[in-house]
Symmetry: C2
Subunit: 213 residues, 2 copies
DNA sequence: TTATATACAGACACTCATGGATGTAAACCG
DNA sequence: CGGTTTACATCCATGAGTGTCTGTATATAA
Protein backbone atom coordinates (compact mmCIF):
# COMPACT_ATOMS: atom_id res chain seq x y z
CA UNK A 1 0.00 0.00 0.00
CA UNK A 2 2.99 2.30 0.43
CA UNK A 3 2.19 5.46 -1.49
CA UNK A 4 4.73 7.89 -2.84
CA UNK A 5 5.48 11.10 -1.01
CA UNK A 6 3.17 13.10 -3.23
CA UNK A 7 0.31 10.71 -2.57
CA UNK A 8 1.05 10.85 1.13
CA UNK A 9 0.86 14.62 1.06
CA UNK A 10 -2.39 14.22 -0.82
CA UNK A 11 -3.97 12.17 1.94
CA UNK A 12 -2.65 14.63 4.51
CA UNK A 13 -4.39 17.52 2.82
CA UNK A 14 -7.45 15.32 2.32
CA UNK A 15 -7.57 14.84 6.07
CA UNK A 16 -7.11 18.57 6.62
CA UNK A 17 -9.88 19.42 4.16
CA UNK A 18 -12.21 16.89 5.70
CA UNK A 19 -11.41 18.18 9.17
CA UNK A 20 -12.14 21.72 8.10
CA UNK A 21 -15.60 20.70 6.94
CA UNK A 22 -16.38 18.37 9.82
CA UNK A 23 -15.09 20.76 12.49
CA UNK A 24 -17.14 23.54 10.93
CA UNK A 25 -20.31 21.46 10.69
CA UNK A 26 -20.17 19.70 14.03
CA UNK A 27 -17.81 21.78 16.09
CA UNK A 28 -14.32 20.77 17.17
CA UNK A 29 -15.39 19.32 20.48
CA UNK A 30 -18.05 17.05 19.02
CA UNK A 31 -16.13 15.97 15.95
CA UNK A 32 -14.41 12.60 16.18
CA UNK A 33 -11.13 11.45 14.70
CA UNK A 34 -12.83 8.49 13.12
CA UNK A 35 -15.43 10.75 11.54
CA UNK A 36 -12.78 13.01 10.07
CA UNK A 37 -10.79 10.03 8.81
CA UNK A 38 -13.85 8.47 7.17
CA UNK A 39 -14.77 11.78 5.57
CA UNK A 40 -11.25 11.90 4.17
CA UNK A 41 -11.63 8.38 2.84
CA UNK A 42 -8.96 6.86 5.06
CA UNK A 43 -8.78 5.00 8.36
CA UNK A 44 -7.60 6.22 11.73
CA UNK A 45 -4.32 4.50 11.01
CA UNK A 46 -3.60 7.07 8.34
CA UNK A 47 -4.66 9.85 10.67
CA UNK A 48 -2.34 8.82 13.48
CA UNK A 49 0.47 8.54 10.98
CA UNK A 50 0.11 12.19 9.95
CA UNK A 51 -1.05 13.77 13.21
CA UNK A 52 -0.40 13.23 16.88
CA UNK A 53 -3.98 13.74 17.98
CA UNK A 54 -6.99 15.99 17.39
CA UNK A 55 -5.30 19.05 18.87
CA UNK A 56 -2.36 18.54 16.54
CA UNK A 57 -4.79 18.40 13.62
CA UNK A 58 -6.37 21.66 14.71
CA UNK A 59 -2.94 23.23 14.95
CA UNK A 60 -2.10 22.17 11.41
CA UNK A 61 -5.45 23.49 10.24
CA UNK A 62 -4.80 26.81 11.92
CA UNK A 63 -1.27 26.98 10.52
CA UNK A 64 -2.40 26.69 6.91
CA UNK A 65 -5.03 29.43 7.16
CA UNK A 66 -4.98 33.18 7.60
CA UNK A 67 -7.88 34.56 9.58
CA UNK A 68 -9.29 37.97 8.63
CA UNK A 69 -8.02 39.46 11.87
CA UNK A 70 -4.48 38.35 11.04
CA UNK A 71 -4.86 39.71 7.55
CA UNK A 72 -5.83 43.10 8.89
CA UNK A 73 -2.85 42.95 11.21
CA UNK A 74 -0.38 42.28 8.42
CA UNK A 75 -2.00 44.59 5.89
CA UNK A 76 -2.45 47.55 8.20
CA UNK A 77 1.04 47.18 9.60
CA UNK A 78 2.40 49.16 6.67
CA UNK A 79 0.82 52.42 7.70
CA UNK A 80 0.80 55.29 5.34
CA UNK A 81 0.66 58.87 6.53
CA UNK A 82 -3.03 58.52 7.32
CA UNK A 83 -3.39 55.79 9.97
CA UNK A 84 -7.18 55.82 9.91
CA UNK A 85 -7.10 55.43 6.17
CA UNK A 86 -4.70 52.49 6.39
CA UNK A 87 -6.86 50.75 8.94
CA UNK A 88 -9.97 51.35 6.89
CA UNK A 89 -8.41 49.99 3.74
CA UNK A 90 -6.99 46.96 5.49
CA UNK A 91 -10.34 46.20 7.07
CA UNK A 92 -12.26 46.52 3.84
CA UNK A 93 -9.73 44.41 1.96
CA UNK A 94 -9.94 41.63 4.51
CA UNK A 95 -13.74 41.72 4.38
CA UNK A 96 -13.58 41.38 0.61
CA UNK A 97 -11.38 38.32 0.78
CA UNK A 98 -13.35 36.81 3.62
CA UNK A 99 -16.58 37.14 1.67
CA UNK A 100 -15.40 34.93 -1.18
CA UNK A 101 -13.11 32.49 0.66
CA UNK A 102 -15.22 29.71 2.13
CA UNK A 103 -12.20 28.08 3.68
CA UNK A 104 -11.48 31.26 5.61
CA UNK A 105 -15.09 31.37 6.71
CA UNK A 106 -14.98 27.80 7.92
CA UNK A 107 -11.77 28.40 9.86
CA UNK A 108 -13.24 31.51 11.41
CA UNK A 109 -16.27 29.50 12.48
CA UNK A 110 -14.10 26.71 13.86
CA UNK A 111 -11.89 29.05 15.84
CA UNK A 112 -14.81 31.10 17.11
CA UNK A 113 -16.64 28.03 18.36
CA UNK A 114 -13.69 26.52 20.23
CA UNK A 115 -14.53 25.77 23.82
CA UNK A 116 -12.66 27.68 26.49
CA UNK A 117 -10.63 24.80 27.80
CA UNK A 118 -9.35 24.04 24.31
CA UNK A 119 -5.71 24.87 23.89
CA UNK A 120 -6.09 26.12 20.33
CA UNK A 121 -8.37 28.85 21.56
CA UNK A 122 -5.36 30.78 22.80
CA UNK A 123 -4.43 31.49 19.19
CA UNK A 124 -7.70 33.27 18.55
CA UNK A 125 -7.51 35.19 21.79
CA UNK A 126 -4.01 36.28 20.90
CA UNK A 127 -4.79 37.61 17.44
CA UNK A 128 -7.95 39.26 18.70
CA UNK A 129 -5.91 41.00 21.37
CA UNK A 130 -3.30 41.97 18.81
CA UNK A 131 -5.95 43.40 16.53
CA UNK A 132 -7.43 45.41 19.38
CA UNK A 133 -3.97 46.65 20.26
CA UNK A 134 -3.32 47.66 16.67
CA UNK A 135 -6.60 49.51 16.41
CA UNK A 136 -5.84 51.30 19.66
CA UNK A 137 -2.39 52.28 18.40
CA UNK A 138 -3.92 53.64 15.23
CA UNK A 139 -6.47 55.65 17.16
CA UNK A 140 -3.87 56.94 19.58
CA UNK A 141 -1.73 58.10 16.71
CA UNK A 142 -4.71 59.70 15.03
CA UNK A 143 -5.54 61.42 18.27
CA UNK A 144 -1.99 62.67 18.66
CA UNK A 145 -2.06 64.10 15.18
CA UNK A 146 -5.35 65.82 15.86
CA UNK A 147 -7.20 63.73 13.31
CA UNK A 148 -9.73 62.53 15.85
CA UNK A 149 -12.85 64.47 16.74
CA UNK A 150 -12.82 65.91 20.23
CA UNK A 151 -15.90 63.94 21.18
CA UNK A 152 -14.00 60.66 21.14
CA UNK A 153 -11.05 59.40 23.07
CA UNK A 154 -8.72 56.99 21.34
CA UNK A 155 -10.14 54.18 23.48
CA UNK A 156 -13.70 55.06 22.46
CA UNK A 157 -12.81 55.09 18.81
CA UNK A 158 -10.91 51.81 19.09
CA UNK A 159 -13.85 50.08 20.68
CA UNK A 160 -16.19 51.38 17.99
CA UNK A 161 -14.09 50.01 15.16
CA UNK A 162 -13.37 46.73 16.92
CA UNK A 163 -17.04 46.20 17.61
CA UNK A 164 -17.97 47.01 14.04
CA UNK A 165 -15.46 44.66 12.43
CA UNK A 166 -16.19 41.87 14.86
CA UNK A 167 -19.91 42.42 14.49
CA UNK A 168 -19.71 42.34 10.73
CA UNK A 169 -17.89 39.02 10.65
CA UNK A 170 -20.06 37.35 13.25
CA UNK A 171 -23.43 38.65 12.14
CA UNK A 172 -22.73 37.95 8.51
CA UNK A 173 -22.03 34.29 9.16
CA UNK A 174 -24.73 33.95 11.78
CA UNK A 175 -27.37 35.48 9.54
CA UNK A 176 -26.53 33.01 6.81
CA UNK A 177 -24.81 35.64 4.68
CA UNK A 178 -28.04 37.53 4.13
CA UNK A 179 -26.24 40.74 3.24
CA UNK A 180 -23.22 41.67 1.11
CA UNK A 181 -20.42 41.71 3.66
CA UNK A 182 -17.81 43.86 1.96
CA UNK A 183 -20.27 46.33 0.50
CA UNK A 184 -22.16 46.99 3.73
CA UNK A 185 -18.96 46.75 5.71
CA UNK A 186 -17.23 49.33 3.60
CA UNK A 187 -19.98 51.93 3.83
CA UNK A 188 -20.35 51.25 7.54
CA UNK A 189 -16.64 51.57 8.20
CA UNK A 190 -16.31 54.66 6.01
CA UNK A 191 -19.15 56.31 7.88
CA UNK A 192 -17.54 55.30 11.11
CA UNK A 193 -14.19 56.77 10.21
CA UNK A 194 -15.86 59.91 8.98
CA UNK A 195 -17.69 60.14 12.28
CA UNK A 196 -14.47 59.65 14.22
CA UNK A 197 -12.76 62.33 12.16
CA UNK A 198 -15.60 64.70 12.74
CA UNK A 199 -15.97 65.37 9.04
CA UNK A 200 -19.26 64.65 7.39
CA UNK A 201 -17.86 62.64 4.52
CA UNK A 202 -15.12 60.30 3.47
CA UNK A 203 -11.43 60.85 4.02
CA UNK A 204 -9.25 62.11 1.11
CA UNK A 205 -9.43 59.74 -1.80
CA UNK A 206 -5.68 59.31 -2.19
CA UNK A 207 -4.04 56.07 -1.15
CA UNK A 208 -2.58 52.81 -2.50
CA UNK A 209 -5.62 50.74 -1.57
CA UNK A 210 -8.15 48.94 -3.73
CA UNK A 211 -10.59 51.09 -5.63
CA UNK A 212 -13.97 51.41 -3.99
CA UNK A 213 -15.56 51.49 -7.47
CA UNK B 1 -32.76 10.71 52.31
CA UNK B 2 -36.12 11.92 51.07
CA UNK B 3 -36.07 15.73 51.16
CA UNK B 4 -39.05 17.99 51.33
CA UNK B 5 -40.38 19.64 48.22
CA UNK B 6 -38.61 22.89 49.00
CA UNK B 7 -35.31 21.08 49.40
CA UNK B 8 -35.92 19.23 46.17
CA UNK B 9 -36.47 22.48 44.35
CA UNK B 10 -33.28 23.70 45.98
CA UNK B 11 -31.22 20.88 44.53
CA UNK B 12 -32.88 21.42 41.16
CA UNK B 13 -31.80 25.02 41.06
CA UNK B 14 -28.41 23.99 42.40
CA UNK B 15 -28.03 21.72 39.40
CA UNK B 16 -29.17 24.50 37.09
CA UNK B 17 -26.73 26.97 38.63
CA UNK B 18 -23.89 24.49 38.42
CA UNK B 19 -24.76 23.69 34.83
CA UNK B 20 -24.76 27.36 33.95
CA UNK B 21 -21.23 27.72 35.26
CA UNK B 22 -19.90 24.45 33.89
CA UNK B 23 -21.48 24.90 30.47
CA UNK B 24 -20.07 28.40 30.32
CA UNK B 25 -16.59 27.36 31.39
CA UNK B 26 -16.24 24.15 29.38
CA UNK B 27 -18.86 24.46 26.69
CA UNK B 28 -22.05 22.44 26.47
CA UNK B 29 -20.58 19.73 24.26
CA UNK B 30 -17.60 19.03 26.49
CA UNK B 31 -19.42 19.30 29.81
CA UNK B 32 -20.46 16.05 31.41
CA UNK B 33 -23.53 15.23 33.44
CA UNK B 34 -21.37 13.83 36.20
CA UNK B 35 -19.32 17.01 36.28
CA UNK B 36 -22.42 19.15 36.57
CA UNK B 37 -23.84 16.91 39.27
CA UNK B 38 -20.63 16.99 41.28
CA UNK B 39 -20.42 20.76 40.95
CA UNK B 40 -23.96 20.90 42.30
CA UNK B 41 -22.98 18.67 45.21
CA UNK B 42 -25.21 15.77 44.20
CA UNK B 43 -24.84 12.54 42.27
CA UNK B 44 -26.09 11.66 38.82
CA UNK B 45 -29.01 9.96 40.46
CA UNK B 46 -30.32 13.32 41.53
CA UNK B 47 -29.72 14.69 38.09
CA UNK B 48 -31.66 11.99 36.30
CA UNK B 49 -34.48 12.46 38.75
CA UNK B 50 -34.90 16.12 37.82
CA UNK B 51 -33.91 16.04 34.15
CA UNK B 52 -34.29 13.62 31.30
CA UNK B 53 -30.83 14.19 29.86
CA UNK B 54 -28.32 16.92 29.06
CA UNK B 55 -30.50 18.45 26.36
CA UNK B 56 -33.38 18.67 28.82
CA UNK B 57 -31.11 20.45 31.25
CA UNK B 58 -30.12 22.94 28.59
CA UNK B 59 -33.78 23.51 27.80
CA UNK B 60 -34.54 24.24 31.44
CA UNK B 61 -31.56 26.56 31.59
CA UNK B 62 -32.77 28.41 28.52
CA UNK B 63 -36.31 28.59 29.85
CA UNK B 64 -35.31 30.34 33.05
CA UNK B 65 -33.26 33.02 31.34
CA UNK B 66 -33.97 35.98 29.12
CA UNK B 67 -31.29 36.71 26.57
CA UNK B 68 -30.61 40.34 25.65
CA UNK B 69 -31.98 39.77 22.16
CA UNK B 70 -35.28 38.57 23.61
CA UNK B 71 -35.32 41.51 25.96
CA UNK B 72 -34.95 43.92 23.08
CA UNK B 73 -37.73 42.08 21.30
CA UNK B 74 -40.15 42.42 24.18
CA UNK B 75 -39.13 45.93 25.16
CA UNK B 76 -39.13 47.40 21.67
CA UNK B 77 -42.43 45.74 20.82
CA UNK B 78 -44.25 48.60 22.50
CA UNK B 79 -43.26 51.18 19.92
CA UNK B 80 -43.90 54.80 20.53
CA UNK B 81 -44.39 57.29 17.74
CA UNK B 82 -40.67 57.28 17.02
CA UNK B 83 -39.67 53.72 16.06
CA UNK B 84 -35.96 54.47 15.89
CA UNK B 85 -36.16 55.95 19.35
CA UNK B 86 -37.95 52.88 20.71
CA UNK B 87 -35.37 50.57 19.23
CA UNK B 88 -32.53 52.67 20.57
CA UNK B 89 -33.96 52.77 24.06
CA UNK B 90 -34.69 49.07 24.08
CA UNK B 91 -31.19 48.27 22.92
CA UNK B 92 -29.53 50.49 25.47
CA UNK B 93 -31.69 49.15 28.26
CA UNK B 94 -30.84 45.57 27.40
CA UNK B 95 -27.15 46.43 27.27
CA UNK B 96 -27.42 47.96 30.73
CA UNK B 97 -28.99 44.85 32.19
CA UNK B 98 -26.62 42.55 30.36
CA UNK B 99 -23.62 44.39 31.73
CA UNK B 100 -24.50 43.70 35.34
CA UNK B 101 -26.19 40.30 35.07
CA UNK B 102 -23.53 37.63 35.04
CA UNK B 103 -26.12 34.92 34.64
CA UNK B 104 -27.33 36.53 31.45
CA UNK B 105 -23.76 36.77 30.23
CA UNK B 106 -23.14 33.11 30.95
CA UNK B 107 -26.31 32.05 29.15
CA UNK B 108 -25.38 34.22 26.18
CA UNK B 109 -21.99 32.54 26.08
CA UNK B 110 -23.52 29.09 26.39
CA UNK B 111 -26.04 29.68 23.63
CA UNK B 112 -23.50 31.32 21.36
CA UNK B 113 -21.08 28.44 21.72
CA UNK B 114 -23.60 25.69 20.99
CA UNK B 115 -22.46 23.42 18.20
CA UNK B 116 -24.50 23.38 15.04
CA UNK B 117 -25.92 19.91 15.43
CA UNK B 118 -27.18 20.75 18.91
CA UNK B 119 -30.92 20.98 19.08
CA UNK B 120 -30.96 23.89 21.49
CA UNK B 121 -29.18 26.02 18.96
CA UNK B 122 -32.42 26.49 17.08
CA UNK B 123 -33.63 28.71 19.91
CA UNK B 124 -30.81 31.15 19.42
CA UNK B 125 -31.19 31.14 15.66
CA UNK B 126 -34.88 31.85 16.08
CA UNK B 127 -34.52 34.84 18.40
CA UNK B 128 -31.66 36.21 16.32
CA UNK B 129 -33.86 36.00 13.25
CA UNK B 130 -36.73 37.59 15.13
CA UNK B 131 -34.51 40.42 16.27
CA UNK B 132 -33.28 41.02 12.74
CA UNK B 133 -36.87 41.00 11.53
CA UNK B 134 -37.88 43.49 14.20
CA UNK B 135 -35.03 45.81 13.34
CA UNK B 136 -35.95 45.59 9.69
CA UNK B 137 -39.58 46.40 10.48
CA UNK B 138 -38.50 49.41 12.50
CA UNK B 139 -36.27 50.64 9.71
CA UNK B 140 -38.94 50.09 7.09
CA UNK B 141 -41.40 52.07 9.12
CA UNK B 142 -38.86 54.81 9.66
CA UNK B 143 -38.22 54.86 5.96
CA UNK B 144 -41.92 55.06 5.16
CA UNK B 145 -42.29 57.99 7.51
CA UNK B 146 -39.35 59.74 5.93
CA UNK B 147 -37.25 59.54 9.08
CA UNK B 148 -34.44 57.77 7.31
CA UNK B 149 -31.70 59.58 5.44
CA UNK B 150 -31.84 59.08 1.69
CA UNK B 151 -28.38 57.52 1.68
CA UNK B 152 -29.63 54.39 3.41
CA UNK B 153 -32.20 51.82 2.50
CA UNK B 154 -34.12 50.15 5.30
CA UNK B 155 -32.08 46.98 4.73
CA UNK B 156 -28.81 48.91 5.02
CA UNK B 157 -29.88 50.55 8.22
CA UNK B 158 -31.10 47.26 9.66
CA UNK B 159 -27.80 45.56 8.99
CA UNK B 160 -25.90 48.43 10.57
CA UNK B 161 -27.84 48.25 13.80
CA UNK B 162 -27.85 44.45 13.93
CA UNK B 163 -24.10 44.35 13.40
CA UNK B 164 -23.53 46.97 16.06
CA UNK B 165 -25.62 45.29 18.72
CA UNK B 166 -24.25 41.84 17.95
CA UNK B 167 -20.73 43.21 17.80
CA UNK B 168 -21.10 44.95 21.13
CA UNK B 169 -22.27 41.83 22.92
CA UNK B 170 -19.69 39.52 21.38
CA UNK B 171 -16.70 41.82 21.52
CA UNK B 172 -17.43 42.86 25.06
CA UNK B 173 -17.38 39.31 26.31
CA UNK B 174 -14.55 38.23 24.06
CA UNK B 175 -12.36 41.12 25.13
CA UNK B 176 -12.82 40.20 28.77
CA UNK B 177 -15.13 43.17 29.44
CA UNK B 178 -12.34 45.65 28.80
CA UNK B 179 -14.74 48.50 28.12
CA UNK B 180 -17.99 49.76 29.66
CA UNK B 181 -20.61 48.02 27.57
CA UNK B 182 -23.66 50.18 28.13
CA UNK B 183 -21.79 53.47 28.06
CA UNK B 184 -19.91 52.80 24.83
CA UNK B 185 -22.90 51.02 23.38
CA UNK B 186 -25.19 53.94 24.06
CA UNK B 187 -22.97 56.54 22.45
CA UNK B 188 -22.30 54.22 19.52
CA UNK B 189 -25.96 53.45 18.97
CA UNK B 190 -26.98 57.09 19.38
CA UNK B 191 -24.42 58.15 16.81
CA UNK B 192 -25.66 55.39 14.57
CA UNK B 193 -29.25 56.46 14.81
CA UNK B 194 -28.26 60.05 14.25
CA UNK B 195 -26.35 58.97 11.18
CA UNK B 196 -29.31 57.00 9.89
CA UNK B 197 -31.59 59.94 10.47
CA UNK B 198 -29.21 62.23 8.68
CA UNK B 199 -29.20 64.67 11.57
CA UNK B 200 -25.94 65.51 13.19
CA UNK B 201 -27.06 64.94 16.70
CA UNK B 202 -29.36 62.96 18.92
CA UNK B 203 -33.06 62.45 18.35
CA UNK B 204 -35.55 64.61 20.30
CA UNK B 205 -35.09 64.16 24.00
CA UNK B 206 -38.71 63.32 24.75
CA UNK B 207 -39.71 59.76 25.56
CA UNK B 208 -40.54 57.39 28.44
CA UNK B 209 -37.12 55.76 28.43
CA UNK B 210 -34.31 55.86 30.96
CA UNK B 211 -32.51 59.13 31.34
CA UNK B 212 -29.20 59.28 29.50
CA UNK B 213 -27.81 61.47 32.28
C1' DT C 1 17.87 -8.29 -5.58
C1' DT C 2 17.51 -7.57 -0.88
C1' DA C 3 16.88 -4.67 3.05
C1' DT C 4 14.72 -1.03 5.11
C1' DA C 5 11.83 2.75 5.79
C1' DT C 6 7.31 4.44 4.64
C1' DA C 7 2.31 4.87 4.56
C1' DC C 8 -1.09 3.20 5.72
C1' DA C 9 -5.19 -0.68 7.47
C1' DG C 10 -6.99 -3.17 11.07
C1' DA C 11 -7.26 -5.04 15.76
C1' DC C 12 -6.85 -4.40 20.62
C1' DA C 13 -7.22 -2.61 25.27
C1' DC C 14 -8.53 1.15 27.87
C1' DT C 15 -11.17 5.00 29.56
C1' DC C 16 -15.13 7.51 30.17
C1' DA C 17 -19.79 8.98 29.77
C1' DT C 18 -24.40 7.50 29.47
C1' DG C 19 -28.80 5.71 30.92
C1' DG C 20 -31.26 2.44 33.29
C1' DA C 21 -31.92 -0.52 37.28
C1' DT C 22 -31.89 -1.11 41.98
C1' DG C 23 -31.57 0.23 46.81
C1' DT C 24 -33.20 3.20 50.50
C1' DA C 25 -34.43 6.52 53.84
C1' DA C 26 -37.30 10.04 54.77
C1' DA C 27 -41.60 12.61 53.98
C1' DC C 28 -46.38 12.39 53.33
C1' DC C 29 -51.00 10.40 53.74
C1' DG C 30 -54.67 7.83 55.47
C1' DC D 1 -48.57 4.01 62.81
C1' DG D 2 -48.05 1.35 58.33
C1' DG D 3 -48.02 1.92 53.39
C1' DT D 4 -46.84 4.52 49.57
C1' DT D 5 -44.49 7.85 47.11
C1' DT D 6 -40.64 10.86 46.76
C1' DA D 7 -35.90 12.16 46.22
C1' DC D 8 -32.24 10.82 45.80
C1' DA D 9 -27.41 7.40 45.97
C1' DT D 10 -25.18 3.59 44.03
C1' DC D 11 -24.33 0.01 40.81
C1' DC D 12 -24.17 -2.04 36.32
C1' DA D 13 -24.28 -2.83 31.34
C1' DT D 14 -23.43 -0.68 27.15
C1' DG D 15 -21.34 2.04 23.63
C1' DA D 16 -18.43 5.34 21.76
C1' DG D 17 -13.96 7.29 21.19
C1' DT D 18 -9.05 7.13 21.91
C1' DG D 19 -4.36 5.74 21.41
C1' DT D 20 -1.28 2.05 20.60
C1' DC D 21 0.32 -1.80 18.42
C1' DT D 22 0.91 -4.97 14.89
C1' DG D 23 0.53 -6.40 10.14
C1' DT D 24 1.61 -5.44 5.41
C1' DA D 25 2.37 -3.88 0.87
C1' DT D 26 5.06 -0.88 -1.57
C1' DA D 27 8.56 2.68 -2.76
C1' DT D 28 13.26 3.49 -2.33
C1' DA D 29 18.01 2.84 -1.38
C1' DA D 30 22.09 -0.06 -1.35
Amino acid sequence: MRRTKEESELTRTAILDAAERIFCEQGYAVATIDGVSRAAGVTRGAFYWHFKDKADLLGALYARSLLPQEQILTTAAEMCSDPLRSLLDAGVASLREFEVDEGKQRMFRIMSDLTIGCEGRANLARIDAELDALILRVMTRAEDEGMLHDDFSAADAAVFVSVTIGGLLHQWLRSGKTFPLAARGETLLRRHVAMLRGTDRDPPRAGPATEPA
